[in-house]
Symmetry: C2
Subunit: 96 residues, 2 copies
């Protein structure tokens, strides 16, 4: 593991780590369709507001999603446009 590689590896593992929780992966998939605010996720997932917010912040920090504050709400949308491709790519790979 060369030194220059280290940064790159950590950035990549950050993304994988962000996607490695069922709730987070599910939220990301919801954002394939359209942006959603935090409260919409809270309603559906029946998790604490703080829990949902923290999950979203992990995804944001990994540059998977980005936020957009509008009025009282914060809307999240997909930023890493390659994620849908990655997931279907993996599903094909696994389901053989």
């Amino acid at each position: 593991m060369e030194a220059m590689d280290k940064r790159r590896l950590e950035e990549l593992t950050g993304v994988f780590k962000a996607l490695s929780h069922p709730t987070r992966l599910w939220m990301v998939e919801q954002l394939f369709e359209s942006e959603q605010c935090v409260c919409e996720f809270v309603d559906v997932l029946k998790l604490d507001f703080s829990t949902v917010s923290k999950h979203l912040s992990i995804l944001k920090q990994a540059h998977v999603i980005e936020d957009d504050k509008r009025g009282k709400n914060v809307y999240y949308k997909l930023r890493a446009q390659c994620i849908p491709t990655i997931i279907s790519c993996l599903e094909n790979s696994l389901g053989n």
Copy 2:
């Protein structure tokens, strides 16, 4: 999160979790080139044999790699052929 979705999500998060450790991601990238036995990883990484073995077993269980016992050695090789594509896809996505 529908019930049918749950299995699929867990299988996918299993893959992401497996890839979300720098050492494991590095090992997977080594296997893009050619198969390697456990001892070769141990030599380069300077980690305990048991540590390396456990990392590889996590990747194997996620169907990312597969093993091939030959003689005294166990050789690991890439199984999920889409991983190289996924990584370069992500690198492009992040580096903009």
